[in-house]
Amino acid sequence: MAAAAAARSSMGLTLRFSRVIPDCRSCPLYRLKGCVDNTAGSQRRGSFDSLRTINRHLQTSICLSQAEEGSSNAEDPDDVDNGQHLRVNVVYIDRSGKRIPVKAKVGDNILYLAHKHGIDLEGACEASLACSTCHVYVNSAHLDKLPEPEEREDDMLDMAPMLQENSRLGCQIILTPDLDGIELTLPKVTRNFYVDGHVPKPH
């Protein structure tokens, strides 16, 4: 306890503790119940017993996503032995073509999994089928294992640039055991969409 206090004061941060707590309400993981601490609700926000808990809270905020490496959070509950059967291996291929393998679990949402691992997949409407910013290409081996898109997803996909046969919205893909090994490619957004004499697109 004393060591912890000494460490805190050595960083000159003792008094600022309470302000480190982010507003969970604005975080998409909280709203979609994808945040581990959501179950504890607001009582968590008032009392932190360890810096590690704070770190995990900060990790769930979009701002921090770029600071993370690919590995999943060490505190993940299914690191415990009896969680192995829930493991799903996912590969993201980012816009520069880099392969990013990610350890996920059954029930994970592809969009928020990407956020958790600092992959730049936007989710402007927060998984409410009102945009197409989480557009991904699904590898052929797994494309047919996904349930058919509902009409609303198809409607939004129609607005996505560079639509392909294997296009899906990441926020609608929930991991199941048979999606183990799924690969999701982020579309390369072209530079300079509109050159002289562009054709107006809908808005």
């Binding site: 000494a6 460490a7 302000r19 009102a130 910013t133 607005m159 808005h203």
Partner: protein
């Protein structure tokens, strides 16, 4: 001795995680954390306009480089641009993007300055003096005129103003559109036109649970508009709206579609090789216009008091006034035929005209950017800033993103990609040295003191949060997500409290 060593090893444990932690700390803190890390030699970027373009450009810059500081200037006391003032009240999920923008605004390396009119309170030149780079992303606040006689009669409004009115844009507060007529004609067939049609015909029960303004709700409650025609100069395969919005009209309670069968001649044959989005959209349009409805739908339509429909191959030539020339009584439409096909098809006059009685005309034919500062390059023919991938021509250090860059079309996702492109150009220029970020720049310190001398008090993001909180509380009291403040004066009063 032992306790000292233990202390040291504990500290080592802390310091190894410290860089990640303090970075996290800074990302998590708001403005109060800024001074902790900021040095005067870091690259400073100024963004003008706090809509999606401004915020997405800021987001990309901040994520890409740990040393960039971004200041966003906004003319109104409130941020978010068209997300707040353009997106329809019954599309709340589209506004979720505000949460992402809020996180950016509260980032330690980002600051918001509302109530600052760039071009009047501070010039672009002065901003360029204070910052390493300036990104103009102030969108398109003007509108394209139809250019026909009678356009300025009472009863004729631009969609931009009508939307601004029901969304609480302060400058549109006094619009007070006359909704006492039976027929409304909307020129244009994009998503904005469909939004206007939908708001005009939506059941009050739906509207009263949205963030539509109270005056608009009251006006719509008194509205006698029963029929809305959405008119376009070309054909069904050229409509600019998207399928989601069309589906909403088709499914709008209390309404039924009514279209002209002849308008759809040859359309289904032309669908064979058309890309998926256009195909699905046209198929839905054909089904709605031509197919005999099933029993349930037939019953629903029979009970629907309100009517809507697309009308094709018609261009406005004159707004017709009542005998006293005091208000709109109708619209004269020229009949067109199509030359060519697909997106490139052109409307050609046939010489025929058709008059339609109506008391309300809303022109939804496009927004338009305006020049902000005479010193800044502007292509007044195309109404955009001349640029290459966001770099403004003949203006080093000046960039643009959003509608100002590409013209006023595209959804939020389009603007997002467009803004990321501009941010990438800026970052490339920083890396290559084309943009010299080595000399220290004063940034907001200099601009703040200029503004103070001129009696301008910026609104900070936490000031906006007071407005946000009040609007949300007022909304709670009447079952709406928020009850918007409608004037700049009210906003400033709350911000300063």
């Amino acid at each position: 001795m032992r306790s000292c060593r233990r202390l040291l090893s504990e500290l080592k444990l802390w310091t190894s995680g410290r860089s990640k932690w303090t970075r996290g700390l800074n990302e998590g803190l708001g403005g109060s954390g800024k001074a902790f890390l900021s040095t005067s030699s870091c690259p400073k970027v100024c963004i003008v306009g706090s809509g999606p373009a401004g915020f997405y450009t800021a987001q990309h810059l901040i994520k890409a480089r740990q040393d960039v500081e971004v200041d966003i200037y906004e003319r109104l006391p409130v941020p978010f641009g068209l997300v707040r003032f353009g997106v329809a009240p019954d599309h709340p999920e589209v506004k979720n993007v505000i949460n992402t923008f809020t996180q950016t605004a509260k980032h330690s390396r980002c600051s918001f300055y509302g109530n600052v009119n760039v071009g009047k309170d501070v010039t672009v030149d002065e901003l360029q003096g204070a910052y390493h780079a300036v990104v103009l992303s102030y969108g398109a606040e003007g509108n394209r005129r139809m250019g026909v006689p009678g356009e300025d009669l009472p009863g004729v409004y631009s969609a931009k103003d009508f939307v601004g009115w029901y969304n609480g844009l302060p400058s549109c507060r006094e619009l007070k559109p006359d909704l006492s007529c039976e027929t409304a004609v909307i020129l244009g067939q994009g998503n904005v036109a469909l939004d206007v049609a939908r708001i005009l015909l939506s059941p009050l029960d739906i509207l009263k649970k949205t963030d539509i303004t109270q005056p608009a709700l009251e006006a719509l409650a008194e509205s006698r508009v029963q029929k809305v025609l959405i008119v376009g100069r070309r054909g069904p395969m050229q409509v600019a709206c998207t399928i989601k919005e069309l589906r909403e009209m088709v499914n709008l309670p209390g309404t039924r579609p009514e279209m002209v069968t002849a308008d759809f001649e040859g359309v289904s044959e032309a669908l064979k090789d058309v890309p998926r989005p256009r195909k699905r959209l046209t198929e839905l349009l054909l089904k709605t216009a031509l197919d005999a409805p099933g029993d349930k739908e037939l019953e629903r339509r029979r009970n629907a008091a309100k009517v809507w429909g697309f009308r094709f191959y018609r261009s406005p030539t004159e707004i017709l006034a009542d005998p006293g020339r005091s208000r709109t009584a109708g619209i004269r439409l020229a009949v067109n035929r199509l030359e060519g096909s697909g997106d490139a098809a052109r409307a050609v006059l046939t010489g025929e005209v058709e008059d339609v009685s109506c008391g309300l005309v809303i022109s939804s034919i496009g927004y338009k950017s305006l020049p902000i500062d005479p010193a800044v390059p502007f292509d007044s023919h195309r109404a955009v800033m001349p640029n290459s991938v966001g770099r403004v021509h003949q203006a080093p250090g000046l960039y643009c993103s959003g509608w100002l860059k590409t013209g006023p079309t595209g959804v939020i996702a389009t603007t997002m990609n467009n803004s990321f492109d501009t941010a990438r150009s800026l970052l490339e220029d920083m890396d290559s040295g084309a943009l010299d970020v080595s000399p220290a720049k004063p940034g907001s310190q200099e601009v703040s003191s200029l503004l103070e001398k001129r009696g301008v008090r910026p609104v900070t993001f936490s000031d906006w949060e007071k407005i946000d909180s009040l609007e949300t509380r007022r909304g709670d009291a009447c079952g709406k997500p928020r009850e918007k403040l409608l004037s700049v004066e009210e906003m400033l009063k709350v911000a300063r409290a």
